[in-house]
Symmetry: C2
Subunit: 456 residues, 2 copies
């Protein structure tokens, strides 16, 4: 049987994703501050039977390229950027089924407050929330939060492990399932013997008390991760229920999937319980020719300066210091982040500057151009060859890219039995995995649910 492909849209609460395309005549990114834009997008995604939308985030600016924040402002590279968590109530009120995953850094938010935010959003959306766990990488963010310098990657992950322990305790073990009675006869709202202090005392956090919120439908939100470093992959294999990838090749994607599944198995988890959702950019037309024309028109708007600003932020290298060959050399020599790493992990392929330019001019990601049938072919092929479970669809123009995908590609994938035609009932986790609203038995967060903590 063919595997159902999950569809996730990638968004940010800012004016641009693919650098430069905000200036496309058909682009509506200037509406990003308008709640109605997000209502319409959510309804469009639900019409297309998308499983979820990811709201990515940063808490600083890109300032590596030309050693200045100026290029990121000029090209709107993730600046300005609003707090994406507030889009979830807007979008969840306008939909019934769509899931909402939001990026929140463990570096700048205390776990006691983060746990409440996520429980609140899970309550308001009736169990449709996911959390994309990141440890942050922008030094501008670190400085504005009063940290003299960014923690090392290793320290960030060590702290993040303890962070997860704290939030699991709050979500899974603090309030027993039947703690809240709301008994108007006995006048007891909550049975205090069934609410437990978590008594956490670790290297980074001290959280003695109870969780602020009563249990939500999922308790722990669906956990997303996008680790690409060795530490990141280990983290994803331990905690991730869904994993993003951004590797432009089938080989690189397959390797990453197999690597993380193997690590998960070694950690005692069902390797197939992790869903992989690589990032894909699609330019689709009703015919191949129309798609090609759209693609070529789009190139008029792609911004090299914007791309270099983004790549510099990811890699920490100021590309304004080098010619194009240096960029290629750097990419081939490899660095530790995202696309840069995926490229260096593909030694079997020769990357020419032309390859890279083509790849990058629609953002540093996998690009599929073609008719609905061709796109469906490519997506099925990519999935079958790599073992991924669906795709994270990014946009080029807003909301055109998503509208085209919903109107042209989704019906074709539905005809092929690859995309759901109706939603399952229930929480985001139940819709994604079937069966359960809560973390599965073999997930490390589950072990906290047998409340062992002492009652208050």
């Amino acid at each position: 049987m063919k595997k159902r492909l999950r569809l996730n849209a990638i968004e940010m609460f800012n004016p641009t994703d693919t650098p430069g395309f905000w200036a496309h005549p058909e682009d509506d990114s200037h509406r990003y501050k308008d709640a109605d834009y997000w209502v319409e997008l959510a309804q469009l995604l639900e019409k297309g039977r998308f499983d979820s939308v990811l709201l990515a985030d940063v808490l600083g600016q890109y300032d590596v390229y030309r050693q200045s924040v100026a290029p990121s402002l000029e090209h709107a590279i993730q600046a300005p950027i609003n707090d994406p968590t507030y889009l979830i109530p807007v979008m969840s009120q306008a939909t019934k089924h769509l899931g909402f995953t939001v990026t929140v850094s463990t570096t700048y938010e205390h776990p006691y407050a983060l746990a409440r935010r996520m429980s609140t959003l899970d309550h308001l959306s009736k169990g449709r929330v996911g959390w994309n766990i990141v440890t942050s990488f922008l030094t501008t963010a670190a400085r504005n939060f009063g940290l003299e310098e960014q923690m090392s990657s290793a320290e960030r992950y060590e702290r993040c492990e303890e962070y997860m322990e704290v939030v699991y305790k709050l979500w899974e073990s603090s309030w027993e399932e039947d703690a809240v009675l709301r008994n108007k006869e006995t006048r007891v709202y909550t049975d205090p013997t069934k609410v437990h202090e978590i008594k956490h005392k670790g290297k980074y956090f001290s959280v003695p008390g109870i969780h602020l919120c009563e249990p939500s439908a999922q308790r722990t939100p669906v956990l997303f991760q996008a680790g690409t470093s060795n530490a990141g992959k280990t983290f994803a294999s331990r905690h991730g229920e869904c994993v993003f990838l951004n590797n432009p090749t089938i080989e690189g994607t397959r390797e990453a999937v197999e690597d993380i599944r193997a690590r998960a198995q070694a950690a005692g988890r069902d390797p197939n319980s992790i869903l992989f959702l690589p990032k894909i950019t699609v330019v689709v037309g009703s015919t191949e020719e129309e798609a090609q024309r759209k693609y070529e028109e789009g190139l008029l708007y792609s911004s090299s300066e914007g791309l270099l600003t983004m790549l510099a932020g990811w890699s920490g290298i100021d590309f304004s210091q080098y010619g194009p060959e240096k960029l290629l050399e750097f990419i081939k020599a490899g660095d530790s982040r995202s696309i840069v790493e995926f490229l260096q992990n593909n030694p079997n392929r020769e990357w020419t500057p032309e390859d890279l330019a083509a790849l990058y001019r629609y953002g540093a990601t996998t690009l599929f151009v073609g008719s609905p049938e061709q796109i469906a072919d490519k997506l099925e092929h990519f999935a079958d060859e790599t073992g991924v479970d669906g795709f994270s669809i990014s946009y080029v123009t807003r909301p055109g890219s998503i509208r085209d995908f919903v109107e042209l590609v989704v019906p074709e994938l539905q005809r092929r039995g690859r995309v759901q035609t109706e939603y399952e009932e229930g929480t985001f986790r139940r819709k994604l995995f079937g069966g359960t609203d809560r973390l599965p038995d073999d997930h490390p967060g589950h072990s906290y649910s047998a409340a062992q903590a002492q009652s208050v």
Copy 2:
């Protein structure tokens, strides 16, 4: 001319306000986790031409009474409690005019993140957000955020002054009015020369960079404060645009109003530009008899244990150690918080235990019981005698108290020309004060708006 009375509703994202009333047969507080409850409430308030709703908050539990969190759980005294900021997108999407003020503590949220949250909410609501500035008082919150003990009140206010400086710089001076160009011809989204680093370096915070968000309609949200201590009153007179009071007497309220207005004048502000909105609880019936019957039925649900839990939390005294006379003695001797202080500040009145019981059984606040005409008389009299500018209406049962007020009291106040029959257009600040969307010239936050900071 009679002064227009502003109406503000007091809510919390939890199951109870007046202790015990969640168990009233007509109370719908169990719906507090349901977004639709808040949609309906927002629409009801807008129907009643309320100016705003205040979403109060705590980040810990009440654990002084019986030296345990158990009573607060049993009686649902501000526990469980969700994050109220997420109700704003829900309610603003369902309304056009209502303002939304939310309590956020300066103790547990970094100003760089708080500034983004407020700008985001102001964008999504198109300029309808207020911030109730608190410095927090619950030691359970301090402990769960890893602080061994709560900061002293003086230190909290000193830190809060610097906190305000940081957020004013981010909101008022970082992005010039015409920084964002969105020019599709020149392909410049933001003019970097018009975005300024705030370069803040103080005792408590170091924030060198730019604000994450472009300017929202109000830039700085409408600033609410409820200071009752000497330091609190000074803070309110400097920063507050709206001030809550919770003093059950006309004399005490008038003194507080005059005191804060005098302090504001001494600080160079127009003393009448501060709006005072004391907390009032109303039990209204279509006749006096019906109101009295409602009041007496309500007493069956009032919870002494719940009240003592709340008062113990406010005062820091565990009343389970004392008889009722001790409570009276304590209240008369005075302490530093809220109602307790207001009572001691009224030496001209003899407070009997019966007075206190009556007062407290509907929550520690001013209670008016009567027909619509009687309530309107009392509100007008209270306003005229004290110089306040409106009222913060709390609920007893949900949503019955607000529904009764909207259906019975508001039309009477409108007939008397005291409550608006239509909303003005524009932002929350413009609706409240007329004239301007931004901080007035004599407000300390305004001085930051002439951007002096160096561009990026």
